[in-house]
């Protein structure tokens, strides 16, 4: 017995070490970026255009580009994603088609991001002739985040108790009225969480926008959805690998802004989820 307790201690010690191997580097990464990135942040850095071949000035066009792209992606993915989730949770039966849909969702979420980039290039840029534009990039990102939104929305819809639906139906409401006025409002926090996580993912991805929208250096703001645009993640890639002699401060500053946007969205999602669980009526 004594022996087995000792081996338990040793085993748990190694499990703890494994955990620290993940947690400590994560903490370090975030601390380093904050420590070296925060001093670079000032009014000019956020709201100025890049100057001197991106070695000076700010990152405003990249921030704006990312906001446009993410907004476009959500406008495309949210309605389709939520309706798809409604279908899976409220209308579908356990059959081959449903199984296929679920497999397709799993596959969509597993397709490498660069393959989304290829797809976006082939269909939106070349086939539909949208060119490298905000439209092409948004649609590509939208399809990429579709599985995130579907999965989160479906979970939210399915967690609404069956009795809610039964009461509504027994009062003479139709299936769609029940879904629209009873199920959907109760699932909003969950759908919102999924949407924000999707936003964060879309804001941080680089590979899908490489060939569909991203401009290497474009020191002006885009005017229409058919314009090319700079984007934060691609800008970080460019100034850390493609342009020599960029001040380290600018690199860290860009990484800091990108990381802040992405983690901020995740934080909001976590808070909404937490509040919702606390207030849950059932």
């Amino acid at each position: 017995m004594k022996n087995s307790l000792r081996s338990q201690k040793i085993a748990f010690f190694f499990l703890l070490i494994a955990t620290l191997f993940i947690v400590i580097p994560v903490g370090l990464i975030i601390v380093v970026i904050i420590q070296k990135g925060l001093p670079a942040i000032n009014w000019q850095f956020i709201f100025d255009i890049p100057r001197q071949g991106m070695r000076a000035g700010g990152i405003f066009p990249a921030i704006v580009g990312t906001i446009y792209l993410v907004t476009g992606a959500i406008l495309f993915a949210l309605p389709i994603g939520v309706m798809s989730a409604i279908y899976l949770s409220e209308y579908s039966r356990e059959n081959v088609l449903t199984r296929l849909i679920k497999l397709a969702i799993i596959n969509l979420s597993g397709v490498p991001s660069v393959v989304y980039g290829l797809f976006g290039l082939a269909i939106f840029v070349v086939f539909f002739k949208f060119g490298a534009s905000i439209l092409s990039g948004s649609l590509t990102l939208g399809i990429m985040i579709l599985p995130i939104i579907i999965t989160a929305s479906r979970e939210a819809l399915e967690s609404v108790p069956q009795s809610f639906r039964e009461v509504s139906l027994s009062l003479g409401a139709s299936k769609w009225q029940t879904t629209r006025h009873i199920v959907l409002p109760n699932a909003v926090p969950g759908i919102l969480t999924g949407t924000i996580l999707g936003l964060g993912r879309a804001a941080g991805e680089t590979a899908p926008i490489l060939f569909t929208v991203a401009a290497f250096y474009l020191p002006k703001l885009p005017h229409s959805i058919f314009d090319q645009a700079m984007a934060l993640p691609y800008h970080l890639y460019v100034i850390s690998t493609q342009v020599p002699n960029v001040d380290e401060k600018i690199r860290y500053g860009t990484a800091f802004v990108l990381l802040t946007i992405v983690l901020f969205m995740n934080l909001i999602a976590i808070i909404i989820r937490y509040q919702f669980r606390k207030k849950k009526k059932w």
Partner: protein
């Protein structure tokens, strides 16, 4: 009128319901449309087993064996690092950690999953790459090893969260039974929980590896991008994904090189399809 409106809405919902299937097929079709044109020029076996990737020489040599091996060496390295650490961390979170710490650790893992790959690539470039260079006294730190270490961190969140789910879904009665027989907590984990959760853990590992194979930006920034057959883990390599990302910007639409990059896309799509379907089967076997 109301009936008609509802009819339209419900049809719309059904259409959106199958949207995922539609998009998967669409992605595959467009990859095939652009990629298969390559095989009018070279044979599939020349493409897969060709030892030279010189896409812009005259005549172009489009063999992706060095790229496949590059992906393979980086992936194996990342798997060796991330599987024991990831599964260990999952066990710690699911079984050992006390309540409050558990929540903090889970938030930390979620945080890691959320960091964009280009940020991890950047951090790898400024910290890990010089470190690898100095430790091994090699001319450049942009090596397969650096890539493996960085990619291990991208696989871990996937492995941890799915393996943890698998451990949670082991029926409580298994654990209670083992305790009742006098087993220690660790003996219960090792002999009862892990075997019971094994198919879920296998799925976790598969999906983690899938994430590594598909990763693009970080790997492009820190593996050094040289398309030669790797002899050791301390050499620069180039992966399938990085090749597409690095070269697509410079190709002409409709050129041989363009078709070849799409053909690589087909290879990646098929790999991710096999991994995801396999992992899904493993998870469903458990249930």
């Amino acid at each position: 009128m109301r009936k008609f409106k509802e009819f339209i809405i419900e049809k719309l919902i059904a259409i959106c319901g199958v949207a995922s299937i539609f998009f998967v097929i669409l992605i595959f079709l467009f990859l095939l449309k652009e990629g298969l044109a390559l095989f009018k020029i070279i044979t599939p076996s020349q493409f897969i087993f060709g030892k030279n990737w010189y896409p812009i020489s005259e005549p172009a040599q489009l063999g992706i064996l060095p790229l496949i091996l590059g992906s393979l060496i980086v992936t194996i390295g990342a798997a060796i690092i991330s599987i024991p650490i990831g599964v260990g961390c999952a066990i710690y979170i699911a079984e050992v950690a006390p309540g409050r710490i558990k929540e903090i650790l889970k938030a930390g893992i979620e945080l890691l999953a959320a960091i964009p790959s280009v940020v991890l690539g950047f951090i790898g470039m400024v910290t890990l790459v010089p470190l690898v260079k100095n430790i091994f006294h090699i001319p450049t730190g942009l090596t397969a090893l650096s890539g493996s270490i960085m990619l291990a961190f991208m696989a871990m969140p996937t492995i941890v969260s799915i393996a943890e789910d698998a451990l949670y879904s082991v029926p409580k009665s298994y654990k209670e039974g083992a305790f009742a027989l006098g087993a220690t907590h660790w003996q219960t984990i090792w002999r009862v929980m892990l075997p019971a959760a094994s198919s879920g853990i296998v799925a976790a590992v598969m999906l983690g590896i899938g994430r590594v194979i598909g990763e693009t930006m970080a790997v492009m920034m820190i593996t050094g991008n040289s398309a030669i057959i790797p002899q050791s883990i301390l050499q620069p390599v180039r992966t399938l994904t990085a090749t597409i990302a690095a070269e697509m910007g410079e190709t002409v639409v409709g050129s041989e090189h363009y078709f070849a990059l799409f053909a690589i896309g087909i290879v990646l799509f098929v790999i991710s399809f096999v991994i995801n379907v396999g992992a899904d089967l493993a998870i469903h076997k458990r249930k």
